[in-house]
């Protein structure tokens, strides 16, 4: 085999294992202070502050949740208008076993807030879809996964699992191995709700209304999405989206695996920009462990994240143009994407799903020609972007297909919980890399591109410009060079020791065994961390109970609220417009269904 040099035994002098300590976030004092200020500004009796969390956190009375949400939304200075998250956590040993967690964002003040409602089994909660439209689907997901009912919900049925599914999968007492077969008899027929402005017209119309089914296996959906439309002539008068065809129980599977084993699963959320999901997940666990990846690892993470963001936009633009009949752009754009993927392959050994990151750093150091190849790709990319932009952006055939198509207003986009390029296409400059910088994004010189209009054309403009801004970041990152040093933290409770030590040293061998068999054990607590993904904010909320398995992993899917708004965006338009709009939203089924 290989010739190994005997390394001298260096006793480990770092921090002791953190197992079963209580997690106290470094942000806690600031969050508590801000929480008190919010409490004073709201002046509501239904709120109780929960201290020691990474965000200002409040426990809300079950009956008062709508009033509290409305107060936070309408408050003159707080303005928590952007709904980011709504999910539940199950604690079966508690009397009130469910925590329903709301997370809101204030665009005006750049701050987040977390609300928790405690529910006993069988208790219901009032629907908040009247305050935030995004919560319509989020509540359906909670109903599907936990069996919590929402009073007054317009359409409370299962969303990720099928009609023959029994029980609620994310409850702790649900057996992960349980499977349910969907039979023909169980399949429900979907009748899209006719949009109010078309209800009156039915009698006057010369056409008979037709139901048209798009997907789940349709080339234009780029994934397993199903859209049922009701057509009046060529106009879509009602649409309903069905998802869940690619549901792979990411959140349930995470609970039966170790922290390190979840990384390959996160790859498969947004498979077009897998590295960004890795970064989000690893940094959440690192935040709980209180470790920071070495500078070299952070620099590589940033470079690969930006390359994958470009690759994500390339896929979105390329396939969207294919849907509209412009095939050439797809071939041209896939050449630089191939180079980006080859760069990831040279680092990690896999092309699409690299699983390159580890909690605490990177799996291995980058190859010696990493920066040279990165520079080569950065040099070649502008030519391809310019070519495609020149080919389509001034072409009237293209412009007529995209301008005024799939429009969403700024208010609706915010209310639907849009993030990423789709939100920036309505003129809101919200980017996690600017608002909550991570990996040192604040030290780079770049701008957040925004466009006005919120139509498909605006989303094209934002994505083209974002690729250029990513190139700016990449050029600066390459110019700075890779910092020397290790790519993994020096902490045997987090990082596997190098193999040379494992083969030759008893101590390292024990650490190696302990880490594989007992896993990483973050302290008891919960944390949320967010990164800017290819199509919006990718966030991970992790609850740890101090064991090797995560107690709960919640991934915030940016596509989910965006696709929720899709049926509203296409109502009143034609099927070809709907296809053009769908491509520009960049819905990735892997992330949508998890």
């Amino acid at each position: 085999m290989s010739t190994l040099t005997k390394l001298s035994a260096i006793p480990y002098t770092g921090p002791a294992p953190t197992n079963r300590n209580v997690y106290t976030p470094t942000e806690a004092p600031a969050a508590d202070a801000r929480g008190e200020a919010i409490l004073a500004a709201l002046n509501l009796s239904a709120l109780t502050q929960e201290r020691g969390q990474d965000l200002p956190t409040f426990i809300v009375d079950r009956a008062e949740i709508i009033n509290v949400l409305r107060a936070l939304h309408d408050h003159a200075s707080l303005q928590f208008t952007l709904p980011l998250e709504l999910f539940a956590v199950d604690y079966p040993n508690r009397e009130q076993r469910f925590d329903v967690v709301y997370q809101l964002y204030s665009l005006a003040n750049n701050e987040r807030v977390r609300l928790k409602v405690r529910l006993a089994d069988g208790e219901t909660l009032a629907t908040s879809s009247g305050v935030y439209q995004a919560y319509d689907w989020f509540e359906r997901e909670i109903f599907d996964m936990f069996g919590i009912r929402f009073d007054g919900h317009p359409n409370l049925r299962r969303i990720l699992t099928h009609e023959n599914f029994q029980g609620h999968a994310l409850r702790k007492d649900y057996d992960p191995a349980q499977r349910w077969l969907l039979t023909d008899a169980g399949i429900a027929t979907i009748h899209p709700k006719i949009a109010p402005q078309f209800v009156q017209e039915e009698e006057d119309s010369d056409f008979e209304r037709v139901t048209l089914n798009l997907g789940p296996s349709h080339p234009a959906t780029h994934g397993t999405l199903r859209i049922v439309t009701t057509l009046d002539g060529e106009t879509i008068v009602g649409a309903d989206c069905e998802i869940g065809y690619l549901h792979r129980c990411f959140e349930k599977m995470s609970e039966t695996h170790t922290y390190q084993q979840v990384i390959p699963y996160t790859d498969r959320l947004n498979y077009c920009s897998a590295i960004i999901n890795n970064v989000g997940y690893c940094m959440t666990v690192e935040k709980m462990l209180g470790v920071t990846a070495p500078e070299r690892a952070q620099h590589v993470r940033l470079i690969l994240s930006e390359f994958y963001r470009i690759s994500d936009h390339i896929i979105c633009i390329g396939t969207n143009l294919v849907d509209m009949g412009a095939l050439t752009n797809f071939w041209w754009l896939f050449q630089p994407r191939e180079e980006i993927i080859a760069l990831a392959e040279s680092c990690s050994g896999a092309r699409l799903l690299p699983s390159y990151l580890r909690i605490g750093g990177l799996a291995v150091d980058v190859p010696s020609d990493f920066l040279a190849n990165a520079q080569r790709i950065v040099n070649m990319l502008p030519r391809y972007i310019d070519d495609v932009e020149a080919l389509v952006m001034k072409n009237r055939i293209f412009r007529d297909r995209v301008e005024g198509v799939g429009v969403i207003s700024r208010e609706d986009a915010i209310n639907f919980g849009f993030t990423g390029p789709c939100l920036r296409a309505t003129g809101v400059p919200f980017d996690v890399r600017k608002s909550n910088p991570y990996l040192g994004y604040e030290t780079y010189d770049w701008d957040v591109p925004v466009a006005e209009g919120g139509d498909t054309f605006a989303r094209f403009l934002v994505r083209f410009e974002e690729m250029r801004q990513s190139l700016r970041i990449l050029q600066q990152a390459i110019d700075r060079g890779l910092p020397p040093g290790p790519v993994m933290v020096d902490n045997p409770y987090v990082a596997l020791p190098p193999k040379a030590k494992v083969y030759n040293e008893m101590e390292s061998l024990i650490y190696h065994f302990k880490l594989i068999m007992h896993g990483i054990q973050p302290p008891v607590g919960e944390a949320y961390f967010q990164v800017e993904g290819g199509n919006g904010e990718v966030g991970f909320y992790i609850v740890s109970d101090g064991t090797k398995h995560p107690y709960r992993v919640r991934a915030r899917p940016p596509c989910f609220p965006i696709f929720e708004a899709y049926s509203k965006m296409i109502t009143g338009q034609t099927i070809p417009d709907a296809i053009a709009a769908l491509g520009s939203l960049n819905i990735i089924a892997g992330e949508l269904d998890r």
Binding site: L343, E345, S346, A363, N395, P498, I516
Partner: protein, 197 residues
């Protein structure tokens, strides 16, 4: 949009010229084309490529694996099944069964990272087409390689820390050396050669 953009034709013709430019450029530079005539010509993958697995052997011909179950514990896809046996003469533990279900495997490389015995490597072999599901389960017979099998050209391997691992970002091969099949210059990922046991 300007007046010339509002007329369809100038932009359409302009786009046509751009396409024609690419066509003529490519016509006179066939060698610079990014397409690869697979399977006659194959891509060069890095020496970290995570392909099909091998189990290495000691110099006396026994397999290095000691059936410690570390790889099957670390596997996120739960695709490795091991049954341990004991050598009556040397009292050493060894695997009597070592199955990898290649259809379950996600090729993450965690088994290689977990192995404390330098026993499992991943090759650069990515051509694993099969005709039945049963054939996707590979056992000791398919995985174990003979002693002194050259692991130099293999893929994902144990990380030694300071030891340099080479990698080349080959891309689609523009300006990069292409290799013709079947791998002439290094050890072939030929299934027949794996069958050492």
């Amino acid at each position: 949009m300007t007046f010339s953009e509002r007329l369809y034709l100038p932009q359409v013709i302009g786009g046509m010229f751009r396409t024609l430019k690419h066509l003529t450029k490519n016509l006179f530079n066939i060698k610079g084309l990014p397409t690869i005539s697979y399977p006659e010509v194959k891509r060069v993958y890095s020496e970290r490529f995570r392909g099909r697995h091998i189990l290495t052997s000691r110099e006396d011909g026994t397999t290095r694996c000691v059936a410690c179950y570390m790889c099957s514990t670390a596997c996120p896809a739960e695709c490795i099944t091991i049954e341990a046996g004991e050598d009556q003469r040397t009292r050493e533990k060894f695997p009597v069964r070592y199955d990898i279900d290649l259809l379950r495997c996600v090729f993450c490389g965690y088994c290689v990272d977990a192995c404390p015995e330098d026993a499992i490597y991943m090759t650069r072999d990515y051509e694993m087409a099969i005709d039945t599901r049963a054939r996707a389960v590979v056992g000791l017979r398919d995985l174990v390689v003979p002693p002194n099998f050259p692991v130099g050209p293999m893929g994902w391997r144990p990380y030694y820390g300071a030891i340099e691992k080479h990698g080349t970002a080959g891309g689609t091969g523009i300006g990069q050396p292409l290799r013709t099949a079947p791998y002439e210059d290094d050890a072939p990922p030929n299934p027949d050669l794996y069958r050492g046991a």
